[in-house]
Symmetry: C2
Subunit: 327 residues, 2 copies
């Protein structure tokens, strides 16, 4: 019945949550060099527009990354977040992402009652799930909501994937994410994946999330398809800002969802003030042919990002280069 | 079973047809002022890439439109087409669009055996179906394949729509198109519409087509959704070139379809040679917030086109203007 209810476009699911990843995935476009004004305005925009979670960036370890090479949101120190949100006495929850192998979680993830952060999202590949579970259990013990985001699942065979999913389902994580890292999935595949994840989630009391990329201009379509199949956590970014082809547009999602708590106008104001400027300053993201081709070929967008950065337009040559690297 | 077969991404439907509308819908971007080299190269690209139909433009009447105000493809005289394609001894079929009330079909649509054109696509609103049927029967009697494209169906109540559809189903048309003129439909709605059209089409032996617009970045998703529900004629344009937010990208569609007769590389070469140049020359189309908002509001894109042409970025003010004009 849930699907039938969801698929009635007039109705809405009050238990859906939107996770704004503009700074986290968008930070991959500008090395996390966002002005404090940008961050403060985004924070207020998320509150005004009824967005449920705002992801500030990564909890990367300063042991591994040089702080001079990145803006501060690569590291998301609690004090830096607090300087923006104070005690965050609002309905908006704060999220950060911790990459397996790139975070000193024992040291840098402090007890929840001392931190403005609400949700720790653990990003892992299928091969690093045991390490992911270490972070999940540590963060859970410290009092946080926890999500496990399995990346690049389009590259994983189903048996290996569902073995890994079962390990995660038996952990303390609250949420499990489908991550279409390469933007290679079509809606019917997302529907089948979501059904599998939701079946497991229902059994182990985990909510399922979707993080889509726009390589084939399917990020929004795949996100609402996952929603129709009972994914409850929907990632989006304002104007789709994110690595390469970017993500599901928050604007599209807010226009689609009928829940009156979500408001589109504050996002429009933010785009007018900040996104237009970011693009004028030469930050490039969003659908383009080179990303379509890495999406179709189910491979990492790095060569597409370089192709565009180099100002190339020899698409056929580039396509053959991609094929050569796959064979 | 057809749906199950279609939804197996490895398989393909050999009876699918791709209709390239780059010059027809794209002509609305540049007033049909395409160079002969562009048209010749597009013709050869369509042949090489296995596209089934190429639509050259409109059969507009010179009694109504001044030939000085438009490129020649607004009028698609048979001699102009023949100058490009000769006798078109290829597998590629040639199509033109005839708008109800804007074409002198008795005079300008000549007998098929004297014309390089294969398919006449009659574009109509639900209110002008009797006039559309006049053109359909005239073109059919002259020996052409005929399609009836009912525009702006998102604005029509279902009873009126299915009355109109029944009139058309009883005509001599070969194809009936779902046209999402305002880019306002979501995939689940396209699925329901396609099922209704296909049910009628099966009864009256008409094939169903889909023409999508990209206001919500759903043109490709809606096109493949219609395909999964047994639409057989799929409109697309290279790089989505078309009015406002544009159309379903031919690149995406060729990347999705598994039929080995379709080739992506020739389209890449065409983009490199012609589309990049068109954009450098200031021709603007494709997804942008103003189109998203007219799509969400299910209204004509004209105000969005003007907003962008005027270089405005005050999205909230514009959104309120749209709402004011709807109330």
């Amino acid at each position: 019945m849930a699907k039938i209810a969801n698929s009635n476009l007039i109705s809405y699911s009050p238990d859906l949550k939107i996770v704004d990843c503009t700074m986290r995935d968008g930070g991959l476009v500008n090395n996390f060099r966002f002005s404090d004004e940008f961050v403060r305005d985004l924070y207020n925009t998320c509150i005004k527009s009824g967005i449920d979670y705002m992801e500030f960036g990564y909890k990367a370890s300063t042991d591994i990354f040089d702080e001079n090479d990145f803006g501060k949101w690569k590291f998301c120190k609690d004090d830096d977040i607090r300087a923006i949100v104070g005690d965050n006495n609002t309905d908006l929850k704060i999220s950060v992402m911790a990459d397996v192998g790139r975070t000193n979680f024992q040291r840098d993830i402090i007890p929840k009652n001392e931190s403005p952060i609400d949700l720790i999202r653990v990003a892992t590949y299928i091969t690093t799930i045991p390490s992911a579970i270490e972070i999940i259990e540590d963060a859970k013990a410290k009092g946080y909501e926890v999500s496990c985001n399995i990346m690049a699942v389009s590259k994983v065979n189903n048996e290996e994937l569902f073995n890994g999913l079962n390990e995660i389902a038996n952990s303390s994580t609250d949420f499990i994410y489908i991550v279409d890292s390469f933007g290679s999935f079509y809606p019917e595949q997302i529907a089948r994946f979501t059904d599998k994840y939701v079946e497991l989630g229902n059994k182990y009391n985990k909510k399922i999330g979707i993080h889509a990329h726009n390589n084939q201009q399917l990020a929004f379509a795949n996100t609402i398809t996952a929603m129709m199949h009972d994914a409850k956590m929907l990632d989006s970014t304002i104007s789709g800002m994110g690595r390469g082809a970017g993500n599901c547009y928050t604007e599209s999602l807010l226009g689609f969802l009928r829940n009156p708590k979500y408001k589109l106008i504050p996002v429009m104001d933010f785009v007018q003030k900040h996104i237009v400027k970011l693009k004028e300053e030469g930050n490039i993201w969003g659908y383009d042919i080179p990303y379509l081709l890495t999406g179709i070929l189910n491979t990492h967008p790095a060569p597409a990002i370089k192709f565009i950065k180099d100002g190339r337009t020899d698409y056929s040559k580039y396509y053959h280069e991609l094929l050569d690297n796959l064979l």
